[in-house]
């Protein structure tokens, strides 16, 4: 640990004193990593991909030699590779692997001095965190607009604005973007910014890998959105992409299969990075039992990601092979097994629910403890329950398949494990409530979102109990009840905590304060709009409205119109958020280093933090939530090092 620290100090000294390398001139600019090189390498790799296809088809005598759909499939791999190579994602490793001398690290790719530094390969975890967050918010807005189109179509029964293929595409792309391009990477973005700071580390363990994993993300997002442009329309088999329907879909389906690979690779690399950072780069004195709960949450989430994500990658490869190479993984007429898809898919996609929820638990714990001015209640049990959810999360996947036709005996065990997950989740909710009890609660915007999360997540959790009970699930599965449930969990849960996190760390990230009045307005519009939109869906589902339909029975017309109007209000509330962010980032008042009087390490440095986070390495002497304990400290800096005896005993 100390070695790393010393090393980084030396680098920093170099970075300060060595003049940055002069920008390349003339033709050399074409060879330097960046957008210019991407501009010619992307077409080059397009040529390589298309050339390979044509060559093989010509050699084998397959006609037509130029087949658009085959070339498109191959290009979904080669085009992004060309772009990544051009922008410089692989430079260091290519030099290393080919035996060329690697460039000595001069930290010219570290930190941001102008807005341009956000648009290139940057190895600073703080820049990458902001790249993540801005990118994911862009895709959040796009996915939200798709939902608005969907609600417009659903305002009346029958077909009004779009045809069936487009409608199926709307909800498929909406869900895929929200899950793979918003919720999962937005948490990765917040984690990227905050985790190294919380640990007292100068950066993530693998900064170059970190940069690469970010740049995979826009590729995945653009791939999903651009599927609207291909012949046959966007992927339209739902984000679940169930075989055998997906196998018989038009070309757009391949865009989903491949986009998931890129987004999944990004997730896995980030998760590995988090794991190694958390295990090896904690500041002196930062034992596991002194880590903030957000770090614990990211630790468990990262374990989930590395173990589970390969399964969805596999499931999508199988679908793509069935579509493109005419394999028979899911073709029952040739010995394939359609249910196999669902087992593999949900073996990832149920843990994915926790991937989308555990970081939110972490954020809520940070915000609630700081803003109630009390230690988090039952810290160790909070961390242990995260681990319990991690382990149990792998044993419940088939509760998505109670009516799917799988072995009937599997239903009761899967119900029991699903029910048991309510126990650690309940522990967390009750502990948050106990943290509030007798606190000195300050209702800043992050706290409003955190409390909104707790209350909405309780509703989502309770409707989850209904869905875990097999007989009720048989009645409600694949209906709007499920739509309501997942939105209470992923909107009321994940999105509310993402908002809480963005507002909470906005002063740290930008060095500016956000507008508190606009923040509160945003919360109340979102909270009310959310409930008006999604609560009535419970009733629709139980009464008989299936999900994923553009047309529905006339008796549901009035309520659907109401939901559509409410959803437009909910969509509009996002404008308040965007306006607040842009306005405050540019014109907001300067933020103090620690506006929330928090004890965790990221607030003990300036806002925004120095390029390498800490001018001196903090010494961690106690747990992070000792509010109300006289003289308690979480971290101290060299100048004021205290003796270990003075630390507050862990409860």
């Amino acid at each position: 640990m100390t070695e790393t620290v010393v090393g980084f100090h030396e680098h920093e000294a170099q970075a300060e004193h060595a003049p940055p390398a002069p920008p390349p001139r003339g033709l050399r600019r074409l060879l330097a990593p960046g957008w210019l090189r991407a501009l010619w390498m992307t077409p080059l790799f397009f040529g390589i991909g298309a050339g390979l296809v044509v060559l093989i088809r010509w050699l084998e005598g397959w006609h037509p030699i130029w087949d658009g759909s085959v070339i498109t499939t191959v290009e979904l791999t080669t085009l992004p590779l060309g772009f990544l190579a051009g922008i410089g994602g692989f430079d260091y490793w290519v030099r290393y692997a080919s035996g060329a001398p690697t460039r000595p690290e001069d930290h010219s790719g570290h930190g941001a001095r102008s807005w341009r530094d956000y648009f290139r390969i940057n190895t600073d975890h703080k820049v990458i965190g902001i790249q993540y967050l801005v990118t994911t918010i862009v895709f959040f807005v796009i996915a939200g607009l798709l939902a608005m189109f969907m609600r417009a179509e659903l305002a009346r029964p029958g077909m009004q604005f779009v045809d069936n293929q487009t409608f199926n595409g709307l909800f498929s792309v909406h869900a895929a973007l929200m899950i793979f391009l918003f919720v999962i990477p937005a948490f990765a973005g917040i984690g990227n910014y905050v985790i190294p700071l919380m640990l007292g580390a100068p950066d993530m363990a693998f900064p170059r890998l970190n940069a690469l994993s970010f740049w995979l993300l826009p590729i995945a997002g653009i791939m999903m959105v651009s599927s609207f442009l291909v012949p046959g329309g966007p992927f339209a088999a739902g984000w679940t992409n169930y075989a055998t329907l997906s196998v018989h879909q038009p070309l757009g389906n391949t865009f989903f299969s491949m986009a998931v690979q890129w987004a999944g690779a990004s997730s896995i690399m980030t998760a590995l990075n988090f794991l190694v950072t958390i295990i090896t780069m904690r500041a002196p004195g930062m034992t596991f039992w002194r880590m903030p709960l957000l770090v614990w949450a990211n630790f468990t989430t990262s374990l989930l990601v590395v173990i589970a994500t390969p399964f969805i990658a596999g499931s999508q490869f199988f679908v793509m092979f069935d579509r493109v190479m005419h394999t028979h993984f899911f073709d029952w007429t040739a010995g394939g097994y359609p249910l196999g898809y669902q087992h593999i898919f949900w073996f990832y996609s149920h843990p994915a629910v926790y991937i989308m929820m555990l970081p939110g638990f972490g954020i809520a714990s940070e915000v609630i403890s700081v803003m109630a001015r009390k230690p988090i209640f039952g810290y160790r049990l909070m961390a242990v329950s995260l681990m319990a959810i991690l382990i149990l999360g792998f044993s419940v996947w088939a509760h998505h398949m109670f009516v799917a036709g799988m072995a009937p005996w599997l239903r009761v065990p899967m119900m029991v494990t699903s029910m048991v997950i309510a126990v650690p989740t309940g522990i967390k909710v009750f502990s948050w409530l106990a943290t509030l009890w007798e606190g000195r609660i300050h209702f800043y915007t992050p706290m409003l979102f955190a409390l909104g999360f707790v209350s909405m997540f309780v509703i989502g959790g309770l409707s989850g109990i209904y869905l875990a009970a097999v007989p009720i699930d048989i009645h409600t599965s694949d209906t709007y009840f499920v739509v309501a449930h997942i939105h209470y969990v992923l909107f009321g849960g994940s999105l509310f905590t993402i908002f809480a996190g963005i507002y909470f760390w906005f002063p740290k990230m930008t060095g500016k304060m956000y507008d508190e009045r606009l923040g509160k307005l945003h919360f109340w519009l979102t909270f009310v709009g959310f409930n008006l939109t999604f609560f009535p869906m419970h009733w629709l589902g139980i009464q008989g409205m299936p999900r994923r339909v553009a047309d529905y029975a006339p008796r549901f017309a009035d309520l659907n119109l109401f939901i559509s109007l409410a959803s437009f209000g909910l969509g509009a509330s996002t404008l308040v958020f965007l306006y607040n962010m842009v306005k405050s980032w540019r014109f907001g008042p300067t933020a103090p280093a620690n506006p929330w009087r928090s004890m965790t390490l990221e607030w003990q440095v300036s806002s925004p933090p120095p390029v390498f986070n800490f001018d001196e390495i903090p010494q961690v002497v106690g747990t992070p939530y000792e509010y109300g304990v006289p003289g308690a400290r979480h971290g101290v800096f060299n100048g004021e090092r205290v003796h270990e005896q003075e630390q507050v005993p862990v409860p």
Partner: protein
């Protein structure tokens, strides 16, 4: 805790519990059950709802009480009491939910077993043709077909069931995954290609209820609906025997297979508009305009229709997706002939 605050907390809990109970009771949440299975599902629903209302009331009361009582003034820089935990309390809120979910699991498992149970014909009732009744449900894009093996494999595009008779619905799919659901029956089951699935329903109320496909199955998923009619036992037997003789006649002299029957039984109406059959689907081309379509494709009408049924991808009308299943290639020749004749305007 002072006694006053306990009283206030309990009052809030009662308030929220009462509010949630009112929402649960005053809004008719569940469809009026039409099967014995739905009754049992409703029981689980109310069992879970009772527990959920209690938990919701507790959580809401604590949150709201905290918001009202522990709000800090803006200039208040003090911290709360440094409570780190309470082992007893933590054991309680681990154990109580564990007990509750165990109870829900047991109730659910019992109900599941009873809902899955298919009473077999006893020795005494062995001659009763209706105990249990087997109906084969064939799902395909985007139509349902119901076959009654006990009645000469008579087929129907709506599901007719006798009152108070347990029915074993045996599902199969010809193309992609579909899901059979009648909200009033409470029972749902996917139809998976290559897999035999089944579900048990015992109707207990006369009436006509919607049959809905709940698994996304393609372009016409939203319109993949049909109806089920629960009839008095005697009426059902009359109907079924009539179908049996009709089907029997059809089987021996299939030349008489009506084009319209083939059209409806294969679910063509799910996607196509065709006035003689009263069909108004909009997923695929309007079949009332077939002559014009054939001219556009440059083919004789009969050959065009036949090709479009057997090999739908060979020519796809511009503006429409290439979405028609290829499964109709396996129609028996007589039925295909009748269908082509029917669609070309000749009386099938």
């Amino acid at each position: 805790m002072r006694r006053g605050s306990i009283v206030q907390l309990v009052l809030l809990g009662v308030l929220f519990g009462g509010g949630a109970a009112a929402v649960a009771l005053l809004i008719p949440w569940l469809p009026d059950p039409a099967s014995e299975q739905a009754d049992r599902i409703d029981f689980v629903f109310w069992f879970v709802t009772t527990i959920c209302i209690a938990i919701f009331a507790l959580v809401a009361a604590v949150i709201v009480y905290s918001l009202l009582k522990f709000r800090a003034r803006p200039d208040d820089d003090s911290d709360g009491p440094p409570t780190h935990g309470h082992t007893g309390l933590e054991i309680v809120w681990t154990a109580v939910p564990a007990v509750l979910v165990t109870a829900i699991s047991i109730v659910s498992a019992v109900v599941l077993a009873r809902n899955d149970h298919l009473p077999q014909a006893s020795a005494a009732g062995a001659r009763d043709p209706l105990k249990p009744l087997i109906v084969k449900v064939t799902a395909q894009q985007f139509a349902w077909l119901f076959t009654y093996p006990a009645y000469g494999n008579a087929t129907s595009s709506t599901l007719r069931l006798p009152l108070h008779v347990p029915v074993d619905l045996k599902l199969k799919s010809l193309d992609v995954i579909h899901s059979f659901w009648v909200p009033e029956f409470g029972q749902k089951q996917d139809a998976v290609p290559g897999l035999d699935t089944h579900v048990v329903v015992t109707p207990k109320r006369l009436g006509t209820f919607p049959v809905i496909c709940t698994e996304l199955c393609g372009l016409g998923h939203a319109v993949m609906r049909s109806w089920t009619t629960v009839m008095p036992r005697a009426d059902f037997l009359t109907w079924a025997n009539k179908q049996k003789s009709a089907a029997g006649g059809g089987a021996s002299g299939s030349a008489t297979a009506s084009g319209k029957t083939v059209f409806v039984n294969n679910g063509c109406n799910g996607c196509h508009t065709f006035e003689p059959a009263g069909a108004s689907g909009t997923v695929g081309p309007d079949l009332d305009k077939l002559p014009a379509l054939a001219r556009k494709a440059g083919k004789p009408l009969d050959a065009f229709i036949r090709q479009s049924i057997v090999d739908p991808s060979a020519y796809v009308e511009p503006g429409y997706p290439n979405a028609m299943p290829g499964t109709f290639a396996s129609l028996p020749k007589e039925q295909l002939d009748a269908l082509v004749k029917y669609l070309s305007g000749g009386k099938g």
